[in-house]
Structure formats: structure tokens, C-alpha cells
């Protein structure tokens, strides 16, 4: 056993763990940050957009030094059918000041962020896997690692070990995921020269574009994304695991299919695949969030299901929850009380935070995404919309008024009649407006 004792051991060096470790180390707590990767982020995956908001609270103006790819100035939402698409596109130069989001690579960003925690005084313990929690009665008192003499004792353990959270399972707050609670994200990084990216996406300097798309995912529930990096493009899809299971399709088959879409194909033409990755995304949302604290422990980030599936936000929620857990730990340290009664403060601050509010707002989404309506939403609807708009735009002797009627008709048919269309609209509305 290592003779040292720590005030807090953080398991997982992703955004959640790094945020927690940084918060506590800065306050002078003796913190160990454990990650199994060669360095934090080595194997970590995300789609590719990092938001300013929560990270800024922790590291003001972090974007001036963090390894980021491009500043997102244009966002597009596309509804794809097999051949065409309907796009909603928004460009706002104001996005630059203050910046809203960036494309980024996790291997670089996580390593940098964890490095911040190290500089603040957190002790890095990498290439080390936590195999179990050390418990005394109902109290967590440390962790056991896979190294020789590998037990590490601490007053508090913060669990931030990501979507599969082994430790969450050990604590009994994390069940095996149900297929309708997670989607599987697959992603490729495609190398393209800087100037090609800039001319294809109409960008200058370090400007970047983000595209999210719906439809053409072989009828399955899922979203696609495409982000511009400095010299590459991140492209991927996230598909609900239950759909993949039912259709017996491999997720990369969906990605390959999307890459063949006539429009997408042109955006990535000539590029060479540099990297390939797959990762689970928790989509259960609000209802899947476990108890967040106990005697001697707290849990945050993906391990606690804190992902906003609708807006593709995860890292910011991870950062926020990590910070709040860290702040609670500081308080607990001052009072010398590591019981649930004390640490529940974290639970409360989460509930008062935007994480909770957003997740609550979208808490109906899960039902929508896993219920029967998803067939319409991800299957028929994008196609019909494309057809209708196509008709609407063609100059072919039919009056615009007639065309409008046809459009509504077609949508109604796709949804399975008037009532269904209404129901779908209502459900969708409720899902995001509680």
C-alpha cells in the first residue's frame, strides 16, 4: 500500500475528473488524479465541439492557450434524404466575441486540461486502472489500482470514469445500460489540407463550421455530425443501440452510408481516414441520473449520465459537475465531514444548476427517441420534407398555394394522418418544454 493519504482521489481524467481535480488542487487539497490512459485523453472520444460556457467559469479565457482546432462561426442543421437535403444554416460573426464553441481533439484537449490540474498541484497517476473501491462499512475510503502496492486511501473519492462507469456499478448507482439508454457513436477523422477545408466550407483563418444532420441513417434513430478541424474533418453518427440491435447493422455501416450521401461525399472528397473511433453516449438523460453522492464519494460527468443529447453537449456538463463536486469536497475538507449528509451538498448544487435544468427540460426527449415516433422522425420525415420542398421550389405551373397544401398533405401522410402529425408535434414540443 502506498503510505500516502490523499484528501481526494479522482478516478478518470476526462473533462469531469480534470475539472474536479483542478478545483480542489487550486484550493490546496491533496489530490490524486488517476487515469488508465497513457495520458488523459489518449483514448477518449467525442464528436468534436467544445463549448465555452462552463469551462470558462473554471479557466477564464482558456481558449487563448488550450489546444483547440477551429472557432465555430457557422452552424448548419440538415435534414437528409437519400439524394437531397434541407438545410438550416446560421452564421454569426458575433460567435467570435465572445466565442461560443470550438472544434477540438480530445487527445490534446484532455491532456492539456489534466495538465492544468497537475500544475495546480494534483498528482498525476496515469496508465493506472482503478479496479475497485476500498470500502469500510458503507464508507468509501479509497481505491485499489492494478499496480503493485496499489491501494490508495483518501477522505473522498470522486468517480468520473465515463459512460461505462465500472465504479458507478460497484457503488450500485449505475446499472448496465439498457439498449434504449445509450447510443453508439462512431466517428472518423478525415485528413484534408487546410485550404481545401477553408474553401469547401467558406471559412477563413481559424474559423470553423459545424454541421449536424438528421435522416438518411438507414431509418434508425440517430444524429450525424460533421465538424471542421484545422486539417481534418470529424464525421460521425450516433445511433441508438436498440435500433442497431434490431436492424442488425454495424454502426460503421451507417457511417459509410452517410459518407456516400451526394452532398456529404463532396465535403469529404479526397480526404484520407486518419483515425477511427467508437464510443457510447449516454442518452437516458434526466431519468437515468443516479444518486450523486454517498459516504465518502461523489459521481460526475458521463458516469452520472449527464449528457444533453439534444444539443450534443457533454463535456460542458462534465466540467460543471466536476467543478461542483470539487467545490463540495473543499467544503467537506474544511468541515472534516465526508458523510453523505455533507456531500449531498453536491447533489443540491447540481439540482440548482443548468445541468439539471437542461436535462429536466429535455426529459421527455428520451421517450420520444425510444418510442414508436422515432420511426417517423428519423425515417420518413426527412425524406418527405425533402420531396415536398423540392416540389415547392420547382417552377412547374402549379401554384404556390397548391404546393403548400401538398406539402402539408405529404407530411401528414408520413406521420400517419392528421392526428398523428399533431401528436408528434405536441410530443416534440413537450419533450423540450417542460
Amino acid at each position: 500500500m502506498a503510505e500516502e493519504r490523499f484528501d481526494c482521489v479522482v478516478v478518470g481524467g476526462g473533462p469531469a475528473g480534470a475539472a474536479a481535480a483542478y478545483t480542489m488542487a487550486k484550493a490546496g487539497l491533496k489530490v490524486a488524479l488517476i487515469d488508465r490512459g497513457e495520458f488523459p485523453g489518449a483514448k477518449n472520444v467525442f464528436g468534436g465541439v467544445l463549448f465555452r460556457s462552463q469551462l470558462e467559469d473554471l479557466l477564464p479565457e482558456f481558449w487563448k492557450e488550450a489546444p483547440l482546432e477551429r472557432l465555430i462561426v457557422e452552424e448548419r442543421l440538415m435534414l437528409l434524404d437519400e439524394q437531397g437535403m434541407v438545410t438550416l444554416s446560421h452564421r454569426n460573426p458575433g460567435f467570435a466575441d465572445p466565442p461560443n464553441s470550438w472544434s477540438a481533439m480530445r487527445a490534446q484537449f484532455d491532456a492539456w486540461f489534466a495538465g492544468k490540474a497537475e500544475k495546480a498541484g494534483a498528482v498525476p497517476v496515469y496508465q493506472t486502472t482503478v479496479t475497485e473501491l476500498l470500502q469500510e462499512g458503507d464508507r468509501v475510503v479509497g481505491v485499489r489500482t492494478d499496480r503493485e502496492d496499489g491501494d490508495l486511501y483518501a477522505d473522498i473519492v470522486i468517480v468520473a470514469d465515463g459512460v461505462n462507469s465500472l465504479l458507478g456499478k460497484a457503488l450500485g448507482v449505475h446499472r448496465e445500460w439498457q439498449p434504449d439508454e445509450v447510443s453508439l457513436g462512431v466517428k472518423e477523422i478525415i485528413h484534408l489540407p487546410r485550404n481545401v477545408i477553408e474553401s469547401r466550407f467558406n471559412l477563413e483563418g481559424n474559423e470553423g463550421a459545424s454541421i449536424e444532420f438528421l435522416g438518411d441513417t438507414l431509418g434508425m434513430t440517430g444524429l450525424g455530425f460533421l465538424y471542421t478541424n484545422k486539417e481534418s474533418i470529424s464525421i460521425g453518427v450516433g445511433i441508438m443501440v436498440n435500433d442497431l440491435q434490431k436492424a442488425r447493422v454495424k454502426p460503421y455501416a451507417v457511417l459509410d452510408h452517410v459518407k456516400q450521401h451526394p452532398y456529404i461525399r463532396k465535403l469529404i472528397a479526397g480526404g484520407e481516414v486518419e483515425e477511427y473511433a467508437a464510443h457510447l453516449i449516454p442518452e437516458g438523460g434526466f431519468h437515468s441520473m443516479p444518486p450523486l453522492a454517498g459516504n465518502g464519494w461523489m459521481i460526475c460527468g458521463d458516469a452520472a449520465q449527464m449528457v444533453n443529447a439534444v444539443n450534443g453537449e457533454g463535456t460542458n456538463l462534465a466540467v460543471l459537475s466536476g467543478r461542483l463536486a470539487g467545490e463540495t469536497a473543499i467544503l467537506a475538507h474544511v468541515r472534516g465531514d465526508y458523510s453523505l449528509g455533507m456531500l449531498d451538498h453536491y447533489n443540491e448544487s447540481i439540482r440548482a444548476s443548468i445541468v439539471f435544468k437542461d436535462l429536466k427540460k429535455y426529459s421527455g426527449i428520451h421517450g420520444l427517441l425510444s418510442g414508436p415516433e422515432r420511426r417517423v422522425l428519423f425515417g420518413k420525415l426527412p425524406g418527405v420534407l425533402n420531396e415536398s420542398i423540392s416540389d415547392y421550389m420547382s417552377v412547374n405551373g402549379i401554384t404556390k398555394e397548391e404546393k403548400q397544401k401538398m406539402l402539408i398533405h405529404q407530411l401528414r401522410d408520413a406521420a400517419g394522418g392528421n392526428v398523428e402529425l399533431l401528436r408528434l408535434g405536441l410530443k416534440g414540443w413537450r419533450a423540450i418544454n417542460r
Partner: protein, 280 residues
């Protein structure tokens, strides 16, 4: 106490190196840095001697400031002290200049912690790949030189004699040497240990000792860095891959495929060269 120095170098992981198709140069950027594969064997051998006979193990490297990571890795495994010899003035060194600085460093380490009895180097680095630094250092220090060692058979702390196995192309040589000596390690020598948790914690807080040109009292500046390097790279290029025309043999049965292969091979000059017997 026995004082063992281990020379290490941080090298780019060759798996991750790519060639820039436009400029035809190597993209070293982004390739993660690792401790040279063979050097870790040297360190492990030193640590095994430490475990058995008690020893002070000092690791050292001449390299950029970022090489402190490599030093820390060695500290985690169990080295006592780590020295990073780093200075712009050392940059651009070839093997002659490198061995001069490494030799000086070992001398200086000897002054600080007691004379160095044994030095371990790797057989070669996976980037420079010369295997010349080890012999160079031995020569500078005037130590006995034992290269390509696959095993330390025995060590007698009283007579200060070591017996090693040198693995050569055609066999194994058992050699006895008096300390001080320098050994270059082959991969066969051992399997480097995984650091213990206390080791990792120590390494996390350890600050490598950094020596710059100014820390050496009688360093001859004409022998270091670019100036002290007689060799220069005249030209470097990416070799053209001689295009191989791969013929995939497909046949209805494996026996057919096997027959096809031999038919193809027998149509070349191979059987003649290899003395295979031709078909009647």
C-alpha cells in the same frame, strides 16, 4: 555502494510517424515520445542489480526539456535520481558529441554521488539507430566495453567482476570484465518492470536534476552540439517504395494454391540460387 548509471533517450514512437506526402519529410510532430525500447532493458538490469546487491541508480539523458517525462518514467520504475542534460548548446549533436556530453555527465554524477561503477546503455536507439553512443561513452570514460549483452550471468561485489553473455550473430560469448564497465542491453535481457504505485507517486512529484552547459566546470565547448559533430547530413529523402506487384493466388483448393505458388517460384531464379531440386 555500487553506483550504476543508465543512459536513456526519449525517441518518437515510430508507429506514429508519418511521411508528409508533399514535402517528403518525416512528420515527427504528434508522434508520442517514448523511452527507447532498449534503454528500459538497461534500466531494468540496473534495478535487478540494485535489488540484489544494493546500488544507487542514476538515469541520465541529454535531450530537450520535454525529456523530463522520460526521466520520470524511470524514476517511477525505481531509479534513485534522474539527470536531464539540456541546453541549446548541446543541440545538433551527432554520436561523437553525444558520447562526449554523456561521458562528462557520468563523470560529474560520479563527483556528486560517488564514482560510477557500471553504465548501462541500450543496444541502439530506434530513431538514431547507430549503436555508437554506448561504445563512444565507454571509450571516453575508459571503461571496459560490453556490447549486445543479453544476460548478466553473475556479479561479484567483492572482486568487482561481472560475467555477461554477449549475443552475436553466430552465437553467444561469455565474457568476464572488471568494473568499471559499460554494458549495452539487448531486448532479450529482461522485461522491464511495471512501476509500483508508490513509484508512480514519487515520480509524479520528482523534479529531474537539470544540468546545462554552465553546470560543467571543464566542458570543452568545441566538442559539443553542432560544432562538436564531425558528421553532417548531406541529403535525406524518402526512399521510393519499389512497387511490388502482389499476385494473390486463388485456387479452388489449398493444394491447388500451394502448387501454384511453387510453380511460380520455380519459374524464378530462386531454385537455382537455393539449390532446390528441379522437378524432373
Amino acid at each position: 555502494m555500487l553506483h550504476i548509471a543508465v543512459c536513456i533517450k526519449q525517441v518518437p514512437d515510430s508507429r506514429e510517424m508519418r511521411i508528409d506526402p508533399k514535402t517528403n519529410t518525416l512528420i515527427r510532430q504528434g508522434a508520442p515520445a517514448i523511452v527507447n525500447y532498449f534503454d528500459l532493458r538497461g534500466l531494468e538490469a540496473a534495478l535487478q542489480l540494485k535489488d540484489e546487491f544494493g546500488a544507487r541508480v542514476t538515469v541520465l539523458t541529454m535531450g530537450p526539456p520535454s525529456a523530463d517525462k522520460a526521466i520520470k518514467e524511470c524514476i517511477a520504475m525505481g531509479a534513485d535520481e534522474g539527470i536531464l542534460v539540456s541546453d541549446r548548446g548541446f543541440a545538433g549533436a551527432d554520436t561523437l558529441a553525444t558520447s562526449y556530453v554523456v561521458g562528462q555527465t557520468i563523470d560529474k554524477a560520479g563527483e556528486v554521488w560517488g564514482p560510477v561503477d557500471l553504465v548501462f546503455c541500450g543496444k541502439q536507439t530506434i530513431d538514431g539507430d547507430t549503436g555508437q553512443v554506448g561504445p563512444g561513452v565507454a571509450c571516453r570514460l575508459d571503461y571496459e566495453q560490453l556490447t549486445y549483452v543479453e544476460k548478466v550471468e553473475s556479479f561479484d561485489p567483492n572482486t568487482r567482476e561481472i560475467v555477461v553473455h554477449r549475443h552475436l550473430e553466430d552465437g553467444v560469448e561469455r565474457v568476464q570484465a572488471k568494473l568499471p564497465a559499460l554494458i549495452t542491453a539487448l531486448a532479450e535481457m529482461n522485461k522491464p518492470r511495471r512501476a509500483s504505485l508508490p513509484g508512480v507517486l514519487r515520480a509524479a512529484r520528482y523534479q529531474p536534476i537539470v544540468w546545462t552547459t554552465n553546470d560543467f566546470t571543464d566542458l570543452d565547448r568545441s566538442k559539443i552540439g553542432l560544432r562538436g559533430s564531425p558528421t553532417v547530413v548531406g541529403r535525406s529523402w524518402v526512399p521510393e517504395q519499389k512497387p511490388v506487384n502482389t499476385k494473390i493466388l486463388t485456387g479452388d483448393t489449398v493444394n491447388q494454391v500451394a502448387e501454384d505458388l511453387f510453380t511460380a517460384l520455380f519459374a524464378t531464379e530462386l531454385p537455382g540460387k537455393l539449390g532446390w531440386v528441379q522437378e524432373g
